[in-house]
């Protein structure tokens, strides 16, 4: 492996880069509308309900959720480091941080599944009450998008190893990755904490 693969990325056409950014912005707008609609639905259900079972997660489950929140925040930091190293044409460090981010993503999903398992076994299931339904629905949908994000990271890793034009690609996947972090923060505070 040489750094030559990263060296060519500065030649990438600024015009086509901007085009893909526009495409990604439209995608993020659409996904925003999706999550806004779901969170607004949650809001409607909660406001209109007589008895909302908030704060009924066990402290142990809650701490897993908190840890996951910090993990995903760290993954955004980890991702930004990837971009930094791509720009600096440092292939070794780029790969190290991509692998780490993938690892963090997989760990996040693993801990989410553990959280689900623990909660379901303690009576906080998808069909025990509306709060449960909302939690599983939102965290599930978010998790599905994290899977897509991890697949994108594998794809990015493959591209870095085999071709050029990385900065743009890394930034595009980054928009999506950071968006997912943001969505999780919203879900965490509005559904789990509040």
């Amino acid at each position: 492996m040489t750094n030559k693969l990263l060296a060519d990325s500065h030649l990438h056409n600024k015009e086509t880069q901007f085009t893909s950014v526009i495409g990604m912005i439209i995608l993020i707008s659409s996904l925003t509308m999706l999550f806004v609609a779901l969170i607004a639905s949650y809001g409607v259900l909660r406001v209109r309900s007589v008895n909302w079972h908030s704060h009924s997660m066990s402290y142990y489950s809650l701490s897993i959720a908190c840890f996951n929140t910090m993990l995903i925040l760290f993954s955004s930091y980890s991702y930004s480091t990837i971009v930094k190293h791509v720009k600096a044409l440092n292939l070794t460090k780029t790969l190290y941080w991509i692998n780490s981010t993938i690892g963090i993503g997989i760990l996040f999903l693993f801990l989410q599944s553990t959280l689900w398992y623990l909660l379901t076994n303690s009576g906080y299931s998808i069909s025990s009450h509306q709060a449960g339904s909302v939690f599983y629905m939102l965290s599930g949908l978010h998790g599905l998008h994290i899977i897509i994000g991890i697949i994108s990271l594998f794809w990015l890793r493959g591209k870095i190893l085999t071709s050029d034009n990385h900065v743009n690609r890394a930034q595009l996947v980054g928009i999506f990755w950071h968006f997912l972090t943001f969505i999780w923060i919203v879900i965490f505070f509005s559904v789990i904490i509040y």
């Binding site: 439209i26 659409s30 609609a37 779901l38 259900l45 209109r48 309900s49 007589v50 069909s127 339904s133």
Partner: protein, 574 residues
């Protein structure tokens, strides 16, 4: 076929990245479902006039309803509910959307703005195959033992959840298929918007784009913003259907308290109302352009029309409550929705007047596409005006959920949108397939569609005004419906003629693909950029990216000598 880097069968036709091939794929899918959805309508009309009688051989009764619980070859009440559900769903999402937006959006946008392909060709291909997957899921529900979805195309919960009592998992398949279809549309929207924003040829400013492109552009913006909202609704509905949640279930049958059926209605119609504008905006654009081509005169008030289309697009997101006047919403909210809904009349009537202005003092050529384009004026005039009855809260109290609404939306959706699509197909067929469709058959198709269509759907409005409520398997149960039933026979006859006309069209369409007269490069002498390239259009469309000097409707310009048109990429020698 088209030259690409790789020439294998798979990459050339099945998994092609070329927008023109993908457009054809959407077109064939759309026409298939148009015929299938129309067939379902024929079954419904039969059932209404021959309730509980055995289907005749030419409606393939034995094939489909052999295992029918009410008797072999007989449509019963459950089957009838499945029919109107699937008819509505298929016509909207599997016929109109693939034809107008999938096929024509894909084919025309790059060509009309002067570029080589869509911004994201791979995404384009994936969008088609996602739609294909959605189609498989939808059609698979026909193989289920308990049948397909039966909750209406609107699928209101709790009826569409297990609590509602519709047997089997058809409803869940429906929800999944629709979610996949929406994903396909979203991918298309991302592509269309990015392509139009970024890839217009030099000189192709926004206000030099054909109005067809404007329609497709605005449709894509609405799609990008509002399809995710229905996706949200479908996700929570799907969870209610399969995961034991009760987001949308309340009342005595709810085991989890706190659900809200009305939430679904709001989410559904926040998408649903922009959806009807999504369907009609491309048709408006096509009609505006075609009226200009066949009047040999610029589209009257082009900029005004474009701005009106933008205004309608913006307003469309604010009016969804007019589908819910009878749900018991607060009076203030109801009034606000009524006011905003009525406001849409202003831009609509302005661009309708512009259509009239295009015809005025023109030199009208009554080619087949023109017949369809002019008929859109008729049917959209009627359809749009009859929307007023539903916009007004008081008249809507009586007319809501009657055949009046069915007549109204068939005029605006089935008639206006479909005739716009037919106009587009007849007009661009020479460019897509390099051959011409048979003109005589086209004229016959037009009249045998236009007249029966009016006979069917105008009479539906008459029935609705007489009080006939919707989704009724057997109207003979009610005394107040008895005077109306005679009309049913007449409407069914007209509907069958309408159906046969579409078979005629399909024969013309497929025959012409293989055996039609070879078309010249620009048989209509049209000014937009797609007519400057010869069939077979190469991959990449233009050998040299054109430079645009004129607007899209330079017909009968006195500065152009010797002919009554000049292309967008030709300089006018003044």
């Amino acid at each position: 076929m088209h030259r690409q880097n790789k020439q294998t069968f798979w990459s050339k036709s099945i998994f092609s990245l070329d927008h023109k091939v993908i457009a054809k794929q959407f077109l064939f899918l759309g026409i298939f479902f148009l015929l299938f959805g129309g067939y379902l309508a024929m079954l419904m009309r039969w059932s209404l006039t021959h309730t509980m009688e055995q289907l005749p051989w030419w409606l393939l009764g034995d094939l489909l309803y052999q295992e029918s619980p009410v008797g072999s070859g007989i449509i019963g009440p459950d089957a009838y509910n499945q029919l109107f559900t699937m008819h509505g769903t298929i016509m909207i999402f599997w016929a109109i959307t693939p034809i107008l937006i999938g096929a024509f959006g894909n084919f025309l946008i790059p060509l009309q703005i002067g570029t080589g392909d869509m911004a994201f060709p791979k995404l384009n291909m994936i969008s088609f195959w996602t739609m294909f997957l959605a189609s498989i899921v939808l059609l698979a529900s026909y193989l289920l033992p308990q049948g397909t979805a039966a909750g209406g195309w609107t699928a209101y919960p709790p009826l569409s959840t297990p609590v509602g009592g519709i047997p089997g998992s058809g409803q869940a398949y429906w929800t999944l298929a629709l979610t996949l279809a929406g994903t396909s549309t979203l991918m298309g929207a991302i592509n269309y918007i990015t392509t139009i924003v970024r890839f217009r040829a030099p000189g192709m400013s926004y206000f030099r784009m054909p109005l067809t492109t404007w329609g497709l552009f605005l449709t894509s913006i609405l799609n990008a913003l509002f399809v995710p909202i229905i996706a949200a609704g479908l996700i929570i509905l799907l969870l209610d259907q399969v995961a034991g949640t009760q987001f949308l279930v309340a009342g005595q049958k709810a085991t989890i308290p706190g659900g809200d059926p009305l939430l679904y209605q709001h989410v559904f119609w926040i998408f649903g109302h922009p959806e009807v504008y999504i369907l009609i905006l491309p048709a408006w654009g096509v009609v505006s352009d075609l009226l200009s081509v066949f009047s040999r005169k610029p589209a009257y008030g082009y900029k005004m029309t474009a701005i009106c289309m933008c205004t309608v697009t913006a307003l469309s997101g604010l009016v969804w409550g007019h589908h819910m006047y009878t749900t018991g919403m607060s009076p203030l909210l109801g009034k606000a929705f009524m006011f905003l809904t009525l406001l849409i009349s202003i831009p609509s009537s302005i661009f309708f007047l512009n259509w009239l202005g295009t015809l005025w003092k023109g030199a009208l050529k009554f080619e087949v596409p023109m017949l369809f384009a002019m008929s859109v004026m008729w049917v959209f005039g009627l359809g749009g005006l009859t929307g007023l009855y539903n916009a007004t809260i008081t008249s809507d109290i009586y007319l809501h959920d009657t055949y009046f609404v069915v007549g109204h939306f068939h005029y605006t959706m089935a008639a206006s949108v479909m005739f716009g699509a037919f106009a587009a197909i007849y007009f661009w067929f020479p460019k897509i397939f390099g051959r011409e469709m048979n003109k005589k058959m086209g004229v016959v198709h037009f009249w045998t569609s236009f007249i029966p269509l009016n006979l069917v759907f105008f009479n539906m409005m008459v029935m609705g005004y007489a009080g006939h409520h919707r989704r009724i398997f057997d109207p003979s149960e009610f005394e107040f419906l008895k005077p109306i039933l005679g009309l049913n026979e007449f409407m069914t006859l007209a509907a069958f003629v309408l159906g046969i006309a579409q078979v005629l069209f399909t024969i013309n369409f497929f025959y012409s693909i293989f055996r039609g007269k070879i078309a010249t490069k620009n048989p209509w002498n049209a000014a937009t950029l797609e007519w400057t390239v010869s069939e077979p259009i190469p991959h990449g469309n233009f050998a040299i990216i054109p430079e645009v000097f004129n607007g899209p409707h330079e017909y009968s310009n006195p500065n152009v000598k010797g002919r009554d048109w000049i292309s967008q990429s030709e300089k006018i020698n003044s």
